[in-house]
Assembly symmetry: C2
Homo-oligomer: 494 residues x 2
């Protein structure tokens, strides 16, 4: 376990002021070039230096033939070179006094006996020389705040409070477009690859202290050092929630993980036990990994499992109600005075019980401004689930058949809808209670976008919203168990 934040090797990597890319060129079809471009043309303020044996300039920057030739050491070197070239380049880095690396190159433990020998040598050389590195067989790191991005994909979304550490590079790179579409923002992400020097335990240790990270998502194919992982995870989950997708527990997952990152997966039960001891929530799909992580990173920890459902659609109300019970939560009945008060506000065909279903009603004031604070203000309500808020996409769809009948232009109606949702955006903060939503429209809709950008989770289906709320409720239970076991001092604010 790390003594201080600065002692964690990831601290120096994420805060690198200068980065050298070994293996970048001027060809946009090579991995190294794109990786360098992501940092060079992102908002990274530090120096980005290409290293190339022949080219004098790479992507407009002066290139050096090798790391030894650099006029001064860089804070971080990224290696995207053929397998055989990795060790010589590492020797160059050592010679130049470079202490932190990202080694993208593959062909190590995951690549059979030769690869295993190569990896052992790499481990030995770097350890002896005090080098810490991410990889090999990884895509490296992404810091959305500093603009450092060694991955293969540009980060196009706003930074957010979810931290990510993954034994798959794809789940921190190719997935970025999907995460942006789901409104999910990352703080920092680490593709650990074969984890020779920096592993998931280091990531957990780092995230535990990182003020930009409020929840952590882990993608795991196998853990080599369970004891170390458990210690780091315990420290992290006492401060912030951690969710993990473990895929090495079946014959298929284990076999595939071995050829991917050389990870040795163990039986599901072992990992279930490890996660339970660590206070980590296990999920079964990448969708749950990111959506649970996002809810945990953005919403207040609920005091209990008592939910209210608010919608103008009977089907989603019923799907949500069913899912609430399947996920171990309840829908308390309203006290009769409250139910009468709500009934007096609703149209005749609406349901004033819990779930509240406004049926076909365009009264957005009621749905978005009046009912949510009334409900969130009740002591017996621990969280609010909503379905069906919508703006520009709805008007666009309906305008295709009814455009000429509207008295207001499309953009004006859309803007009214967007403005009307702003008070709701502030309510999770005001009431310190979670709100999770679903909508059948996506971020093209200006209301969905506004909610998501205010860090209210809006997912694509009712059950996905309820499942994410379930993750919040379980984390609340975990925190209360922790507090009762360890006294009030353990109640570190999340």
């Amino acid at each position: 376990m790390t003594e201080s934040r600065e002692a964690n090797p990831l601290h120096a990597i994420f805060n690198a002021g200068s980065v050298a890319f070994v293996g970048a060129s001027n060809k946009p079809t090579t991995m190294g070039t794109i990786q360098m471009l992501n940092t060079l043309r992102g908002n990274f303020p530090g120096r980005v230096i290409p290293v190339h044996p022949r080219l004098e300039r790479v992507l407009g920057e002066k290139a050096y033939p090798n790391l030894r030739a650099l006029p001064e050491p860089v804070d971080l070197a990224v290696l995207v070179v053929p397998t055989d070239a990795v060790l010589p380049v590492v020797e160059d880095a050592i010679a130049r006094g470079i202490r932190n690396l990202v080694i993208t190159s593959a062909g190590f433990r995951e690549g059979g006996e030769d690869g295993q020998k190569r990896e052992a040598l790499l481990r030995e050389v770097t350890r002896r020389n005090g080098i810490r590195f991410v990889g090999p067989n990884c895509i490296g790191v992404l810091n959305t705040k500093s603009g450092l991005n060694t991955t293969f994909f540009p980060y196009l979304h706003a930074p957010g409070p979810l931290g990510l550490a993954s034994q798959s590079g794809t789940y921190v790179t190719q997935v970025l477009d999907l995460l942006a579409r789901w409104g999910i923002g990352l703080s920092k992400a680490i593709s650990v690859g074969n984890s020779v020097s920096i592993d998931l335990a280091d990531c957990l240790d780092y995230f535990a202290d990182d003020p930009d990270t409020r929840a952590v998502a882990l993608y795991i194919e196998g853990i080599a050092d369970g004891r170390r992982f458990l210690a780091a995870a315990r420290r992290c989950t006492a401060r912030k929630p951690v969710v993990a997708l473990y895929v090495g527990g079946t014959e298929g997952g284990s076999r595939s993980g071995r050829s991917h990152t050389g990870a040795l997966g163990g039986p599901d039960e072992i990992y279930d036990g490890l996660f339970a001891q660590a206070g980590i929530q296990r999920v079964k799909t990448v969708a749950d990994l990111y959506t649970f992580g996002w809810a945990l990173a953005t919403q207040a920890v609920p005091n209990g499992n008592r939910m209210v459902i608010l919608t103008h659609s009977g089907g989603p109300a019923t799907s949500m109600a069913d899912a609430v019970y399947r996920h171990g939560m309840t829908l308390p009945r309203f006290p009769s005075a409250l139910e009468a008060q709500i009934r007096s506000m609703l149209p005749a065909t609406a349901s004033a019980a819990n779930p509240i279903d406004l049926t076909f009603s365009l009264d957005i004031k009621l749905l978005q401004e009046k009912l949510p604070p009334l409900l969130l203000g009740q002591d017996f309500v621990d969280g609010l689930l909503m379905h069906g808020l919508q703006g520009s996409t709805f008007f666009t769809d309906v305008s295709r058949i009814a455009g000429d009948l509207f008295s207001l232009p499309l953009d004006q109606m859309s803007e009214f809808a967007r403005l009307a949702v702003e008070p709701l955006c502030r309510m999770p903060q005001e009431f310190q209670k979670p709100i999770v939503m679903s909508c059948f429209y996506d971020r093209r809709d200006n209301v969905v976008r506004t909610l998501q950008d205010a860090h209210i989770p809006v997912f694509d289906t009712p059950e996905r919203a309820v499942a994410a709320m379930g993750a919040l409720v379980r984390y609340g239970e975990f925190r209360r168990r922790l507090a009762s076991r360890e006294g009030p001092d353990a109640r570190t604010p999340v």
Copy 2:
């Protein structure tokens, strides 16, 4: 059970040549107006006649003060009127000789004691007069081929082979944008509401005979007549797959369903038994309902559970591999000659086992043209799972940082990618084996769009693709059990 296709009341409704809308006006903010517009301004070729007590013209069409005043009977009348007005308008319909109705209006069984009396009277009057109707408290029907659309949302996607019957109107209307984004096309959809005259059994009976429907998705809050439902479902599942989402099995779902459509949900075990007897696959989320339904509607029935995974990403390969086993399927190892053949085609860091992981490789010929037919042609392969095909969105994303470095313009690169995927689009048909995919890009991507429009399911996450493949495998097992029990005559082609 219906004797002939024409005898099913839905046959006359779906094939209506003329439709009257009672309750439409010129105000685009009322439900009836939008419902009429969807048929009037869709591609419905028949007559659309508004009925309004005062207006002379509605939406440009000559209006009649009531149904009695129509110059001739219409094939179908849609009622979107206040609760109290429903019975008088039904009497008008009877008087004018109109035999088929859609009753959108709410305020019946779901609305307490008064509503129950009202519904009993409606049932009695219509029965006595030989009237069949969808509803009340529903949104009616959608025929994507004829353009008849009594729902509240325009249908903006191409027709497809999935039939839908739902006790929620939302799940055939508000969900249309989502289904279009997932590339899912409907044949016909029915929102049955309170099911006083036409219920889910009638829908199953209709879909069993409908040549445009290859699979059926049901959303169920409660079934009143289990025996009738079972008989219709058995007949249907012997011909085509049926998936069902039942949400009435928990306290929350049951309570919400009661206030929504007045449905009385029963315990999960009862419904599990009913579905098992009927050969219906039960799902737990609306996402599974539609995605399983789509895979079942578009893909060949697999002969077994032996899958191959093909991707260029290790993480998705491993997630898929793990999910394959969790969903009761297997990943057979390749015979050594085949593995050697594959290995000779791949880059050194790639995995030639099953899953095949090309790692970082831009060789789309290998991924899309050479490997899929080689794999689908193997006797021991029952289906193909793929992840990661991409086109225009990928180029757009990368162009943001590398645009000036590409030698070809964006649209030309995108078009090459689209053309390269066309042979793959034909393979499910050629090999009569299912292909299901995932991609982190959506339909904005021209390759995803091309695959989806060729009716290859492309879903957003690896596990969702595998889960949908699991539904296909289970239906294959069901068909083989059915065939072995009932002899070759039962093997009606799907």
